[in-house]
């Protein structure tokens, strides 16, 4: 079975889906691994690092022609998908609900698609869970980026030249990214507040030293640890509860998402206009439409004295770690799917079932 590792094409994404170490492990398991030229360059992995462990360096074209499984982190574009051959498998974060047209093409080509973002959040799938592994880094990096952008420092300091009051950090959404953001901001000495629609996150936030801003969520639903879309009424209550903190905050990090939907708008332009001069907002939900009304993906907007940074890029900027984790997740996923180098197609298995979006041209999920 030949695995083709593609270089990421998305602007600014420095990751690679398979690192030399994992390539070696795959080869050890009997797979053949071909890697696109310079695929690892931005994550500090050279072509030679791959060839040393026994992988072949190939052109992109070659990979599309010869691979049984094509692996990448980010979604494919239409042109690329048109190159697929019958029986070929693609494995990436396809976000199939947001991109049904892509599934159509794959189906048309008679190919197969596994979507990494669809790995279920169950205990035994934790080591394949790319959302967790990448969001975790995103949470860390959002704080570092925020601290770098701010014109203030995080910790309280009582010095001979006066006292610097600690930065106030406000976090929306206490999922994986939110929790790591809390931990990181707290470590640096900030006063951290956080809120989430799921009240069970209160204890978790507090266990990391944040103050939880409780918003009455009666009437709201959640499912399997995921939030569902919030009602307008909830949004109003949330604003009332959080505004006081928002208007004092030096750094705001938003991570609120609802799987398969546009991210909820939690900070309106009007709210931004009341924020402190010099405050920074890092919107990690920007790619899903953003939690802040004025955020734009991959841009820094300066408005009302506030810097609004729209990004999901945080993990990309810690590309070495992000690639290592992603590759390990992929490896675990491949090991789970296969037996003695061959796919098991075990549709009884929840992980296979939920990630297998298109099977030999048949669209199974939409």
């Amino acid at each position: 079975m030949i695995i083709g590792v593609l270089k990421e094409t998305q602007e600014g994404d420095n990751r690679v889906s398979i690192t030399p170490k994992i390539a070696q492990q795959l080869i050890g398991k009997g797979f053949e691994v071909n890697v696109e030229e310079h695929a690892g360059a931005n994550s500090s992995y050279k072509n030679s690092d791959y060839s040393q462990v026994g992988a072949q360096i190939r052109s992109k074209e070659d990979l599309f022609n010869t691979s049984d499984i094509l692996i990448r982190i980010n979604n494919f574009d239409t042109k690329e998908l048109e190159l697929l051959k019958k029986g070929q498998i693609v494995m990436a974060q396809l976000f199939h609900k947001l991109h049904p047209q892509h599934m159509e093409i794959i189906s048309k080509r008679g190919a197969t698609a596994f979507s990494m973002d669809a790995i279920p959040r169950i205990s035994r799938a934790q080591d394949m869970d790319v959302l967790s592994s990448q969001n975790n880094l995103a949470g860390y990096k959002a704080v570092i980026k925020g601290a770098n952008e701010m014109t203030k420092i995080f910790p309280l300091m009582m010095t001979a030249a006066g006292t610097i009051s600690p930065a106030r950090v406000l976090i929306y959404g206490i999922g994986v990214a939110g929790l790591q953001a809390i931990a990181t901001a707290k470590r640096l000495g900030a006063i951290v507040e956080a809120t989430d629609i799921r009240t069970e996150t209160k204890e978790q936030a507090e266990s990391l030293g944040a103050k939880f801003i409780m918003v009455d969520n009666s009437g709201e639903e959640s499912e399997g640890g995921y939030a569902k879309e919030a009602s307008e009424d909830y949004a109003k209550r949330q604003k009332e509860a959080v505004n006081k903190s928002l208007f004092k905050a030096d750094l705001v990090i938003t991570t609120a998402m609802v799987p398969g939907r546009k991210a909820p708008v939690l900070i309106t332009e009007e709210q931004v206009s009341h924020m402190q001069n010099g405050a920074v907002i890092i919107d990690l939900a920007a790619a899903q439409g953003g939690n802040c009304e004025i955020s734009v993906m991959n841009e820094t907007i300066n408005k009302y004295g506030v810097k609004v940074i729209g990004t999901t890029m945080a993990p990309h900027s810690v590309s070495t770690n992000a690639s290592d984790l992603y590759a390990k997740n992929t490896f675990n996923f491949l090991v789970h799917l296969t037996h003695d180098k061959n796919l098991k197609w075990d549709l009884e298995d929840q992980i296979t079932e939920e990630t297998l979006i298109v099977k030999d041209g048949e669209i199974r999920k939409s």
Partner: protein
């Protein structure tokens, strides 16, 4: 009496005091036992030889034969018995002591007739001695499994109280009437024996140690009373020491079990409930106290901590680091076994423990540490649950089936600290808690660890 003997008794008494005192600390306990045994030895030898009586050789031979037989028997039994059977053996031995006191009372009864003080004393020796005897034997049988654990008579409280009152009246009659009737005496003996049985039979198996301690205290009192018969100081003081120390110990044991003495003896219903509370389909769970765990850790060579989400909730990171350092300073090797998904976010335990400056090289990854558990004396699971749940291996229907876990069950002894029997994130029961090698140490992690620290510092 002989002056040398007086001095020997005095010395024996002092060894008893020191013996008890030293038995109260782990470091000195062994020494204390030996000291007391030495005192007992000289008291026995002194009694045998330092007296002003004319004793025929036959009697001497008999006595020495009796001592020899008893010594050899006692020694062998004590050495042969399994560790786990020791409590019932103690109970049995205690019963023998009571029987001995009873016999002395019976023999002395005739001599005492007419002297109310002496009669009172013999009566007391007989009654207390035989209650201890039969009670201890029942306790032994229960612990042994020979007897069904819980036998409940209807209105047993009432019956018991009537019997004991009857006994007292009966004894008073002897004192008052100066009767020397042997049949009546044996009736008294019989009733006392019956009371001993009645007293212990309704008490639950889990409460047996408390009862044994109480009976033990009674034997001490019986010895002291017999001592009054002979104006023998070592018996009096020794007996009273055992009596008072035994009583205090009984209360301490009740406290450690979170029960009152009253509820142990009378509230046998309460007792069943309490036992039921910690029972389950999976079997019994064992409780440990802070001092148990402290001593266990203190005398270990290798300890592994398994932290989980509860450690974060309790904010016990500083406390556990202090515990680790304290143990290390006592020569115990300590490691933290970090499960990849312990806590609620990736790296949760790392963030937590870094805060209290736990050295990075003390943190072991799951795959590295799993083979080490079997060489570990104590694994201390604090606020973790799912990450040590064997259901991940055994139970395909469990939501965590297939997840790798920390193999805490391989260790020689497991201690789990959490606040209750509530499940963790996955919402499922944990069989590990019912593992025979496991004891639960309930309480908030921070409080518990801080108590462990103070306990360990006192050692």
């Amino acid at each position: 009496m002989n002056l040398t003997l007086d001095i020997i008794y005095l010395i024996a008494t002092i060894t008893f005091i020191y013996g008890l005192k030293y038995l109260g600390h782990p470091e000195t306990a062994k020494k204390g036992n030996l000291i007391a045994a030495f005192g007992m030895g000289i008291a026995i030898v002194g009694t045998l030889f330092l007296h002003d009586l004319v004793v025929p050789t036959f009697t001497y031979v008999l006595i020495i034969a009796a001592i020899a037989v008893g010594t050899v028997l006692g020694w062998i039994i004590a050495l042969k018995v399994q560790m786990t059977k020791m409590p019932e053996l103690v109970s049995l031995f205690n019963g023998f002591g009571g029987a001995s006191a009873t016999i002395i009372g019976l023999v002395e009864f005739n001599k005492s007739i007419g002297d109310p003080t002496q009669t009172t004393t013999t009566m007391a020796a007989i009654i207390i001695g035989s209650i201890t005897f039969s009670g201890s034997v029942v306790a032994w049988g229960k612990l042994n499994g020979t007897m069904k654990s819980l036998i409940r008579l209807p209105k047993y409280n009432l019956i018991n109280n009537v019997v004991i009152l009857g006994l007292i009246v009966f004894a008073a009659y002897f004192v008052w009437s100066s009767s020397s009737s042997q049949p009546l005496l044996y009736l008294l003996l019989f009733v006392a024996l019956v009371y001993g049985v009645l007293f212990v039979i309704p008490i639950g198996g889990a409460d047996m140690p408390v009862v044994i301690s109480l009976l033990n205290s009674l034997t001490g009192i019986a010895a002291a009373i017999t001592g009054i018969l002979y104006s023998n100081m070592v018996m009096i003081v020794g007996g009273i020491l055992v009596g008072s120390a035994g009583l205090i110990l009984t209360f301490a044991m009740c406290k450690a079990m979170n029960r009152s003495l009253f509820s142990v003896i009378f509230g046998a219903f309460g007792s069943t409930q309490a036992v039921a509370g910690s029972q389950s389909v999976k079997g019994d769970i064992k409780h440990a106290t802070v001092s148990d765990v402290a001593i266990l850790m203190n005398y270990s060579q290798r300890v592994i901590f398994v932290p989980g989400y509860g450690l974060a909730v309790a904010q016990a990171q500083h406390a556990i680091h202090e515990l680790e350092q304290l143990l290390e300073s006592k020569g115990v090797q300590v490691k933290y076994a970090i499960h990849p998904v312990a806590g609620r976010m990736p790296g949760h335990m790392n963030v937590l423990l870094a805060e209290s400056n736990v050295e990075y090289n003390k943190l072991a990854e799951m795959d590295d540490v799993n083979p080490e558990f079997k060489n570990t004396d104590v694994v201390f699971v604090v606020g973790a649950n799912d990450v040590v749940n064997p259901a991940a291996h055994n139970d395909p229907s469990s939501p965590i089936y297939g997840m790798p876990i920390l193999e805490a069950a391989d260790a020689k002894q497991i201690i789990v600290n959490k606040r209750s029997m509530n499940p963790g994130y996955a919402g499922i029961e944990n069989e590990l808690f019912y593992n025979p090698k496991n004891s639960m140490l309930f309480g908030d992690a921070k409080t518990v660890i801080q108590s462990l620290i103070s306990e360990l510092k006192g050692m």
